[in-house]
């Protein structure tokens, strides 16, 4: 290391949001790890050994493989009573980006989903048409049906409990959200009456409830706001 101005590869800062470790994204990975270990030993005295301190690690524009992410986390957590809250990188692989895009995408189908047909998407799903008995629609995100939902809808199939199923006419035979299942107990006669007078509804999982519950669409804005606040 003969550079005149020795740029620090690792800086540890205390901010009002907690401790942040900045890792330089221009240096070699091994050099960074070595320096990280050194810096952590030096500044260990600054941490209270009896209390778990959580830190956030900023990686800049460095991309880390899963294994490397684990290594950094291990290095930091081994050095004392520190817990890594989050590894923040400005970059991601194309594959991850595509996956993320798919998860956020709304796919629209303008058709009737008939008995025996299954539509599945990775993001949110919008059906402009009915879902007939025996037909199924599945999404990793939300399912919206602008029509009558008479068949099966599965939302949050990858485990997202905040997913919802919304329909103009809500007379499903089955709804699944994450791992919860709703089976209709209405008789055919009851359902055919419901089909004629029903208002738009959405189905969701509520924290206090064991089961999937149905609400009028007007309540959806509040539900979304609450869930967003919880996540932040």
């Amino acid at each position: 290391m003969k550079t005149s101005v020795q740029k620090q590869n690792v800086t540890i800062k205390g901010t009002k949001d907690g401790i942040i470790i900045h890792l330089n994204d221009q240096c070699g990975y091994d050099a960074m790890i070595t320096e990280l270990k050194l810096k952590l030993t030096e500044s260990l005295s600054a941490f209270d050994p009896n209390k778990d301190v959580s830190v956030r690690v900023h990686l800049g524009k460095r991309y880390l493989e899963q294994e490397q992410q684990r290594e950094i986390q291990q290095v930091i957590e081994e050095s004392g009573a520190i817990v890594v809250d989050e590894l923040i990188s400005e970059v991601m692989t194309k594959k991850e980006a595509k996956k993320q895009q798919e998860q956020q995408e709304l796919t629209t189908f303008t058709r009737l989903v008939r008995s025996g047909q299954v539509l599945r998407v990775k993001g949110d799903l919008l059906i402009l048409g009915d879902v007939n008995p025996g037909g199924a629609v599945e999404a990793a995100g939300d399912v919206y049906v602008l029509g009558a939902l008479k068949g099966i809808a599965r939302a949050g199939i990858d485990g997202n409990e905040n997913a919802i199923v919304a329909a103009s006419v809500m007379v499903p035979s089955q709804i699944t959200i994450a791992d919860r299942l709703y089976l209709t107990e209405a008789t055919r006669a009851e359902r055919s009456i419901e089909m004629k007078k029903t208002e738009p509804k959405y189905a969701c999982i509520e924290h206090q409830e064991e089961d999937i519950v149905f609400h009028a669409m007007s309540g959806l804005a509040a539900f979304r706001r609450d869930r967003k606040n919880e996540m932040d």
Binding site: R114, Q117, G129
Partner: protein, 268 residues
Amino acid sequence: MGEAIVITSGKGGVGKTTTSANIGTALALQGKQVCLLDTDIGLRNLDVVMGLENRIIYDLVDVLEGKCEVRQALIRDKRFDCLHLLPAAQTKDKSSVTPEQMKQVVDELKPDYDYLIIDCPAGIEQGFRNAIAGADRAIVVTTPDIPSVRDADRVTGLVEQELDKPMLIVNRVRKASKSNETEDLLDVDDVVDTLSLDLLGVVFEDENVLKASHRGEPVATTPNTAASLAYRNIARRILGESVPLLSQKQKLGFFAKIKSLFGLRANS
């Protein structure tokens, strides 16, 4: 060049064969050149409904195996010179025919006829694939009950993968004698709503249909029965005429009753 129309339903026993026989007969009554094709290999019925079972010499499988020419296997109807039947084989099963072969036969017959009516077997397997392979369009037959509508929905989805949106015939509709009786049954509107298909016709439950197939004479040949009129109207709609639906007439049942009291014909 004729048009090949497949009559299908998914579920068995809803009246595919009866519908095929009667639409074919009604089109022949209109002076069209019609050929009926029975694709229900192993369980053929169309020949029986038409009363032609004793005249079968060669069948569809014989044609495909090259034992005879298509024209040798065709049976001319007793009543109409312009109505022919290509019977299915009774000794083989559905797997002895492929969709490609079926298409070949249909394409060979098409230039000689105005309409080819293909009677499809129940189910959605090989027999169904064969039946729709050569068709230009499809008619889905259903009865107004939940199992049959469910199957019609399924089969419509499969037909739509190959052909345009099919037309719908609601068969064996019962005329409600009391108003409360209708709540326990699907009405024609419910069926049309669910399937979201264009309604080609409504055929009311009529014991004359059963009697006619017992005699081996399609009901369409008998004058003045409800079912006969329905089938003849369907044929006219296939030919492009605009004929009011019988179901609309049913709502005017009161007037029709008064008319019939005075000995006038209720149906126009």
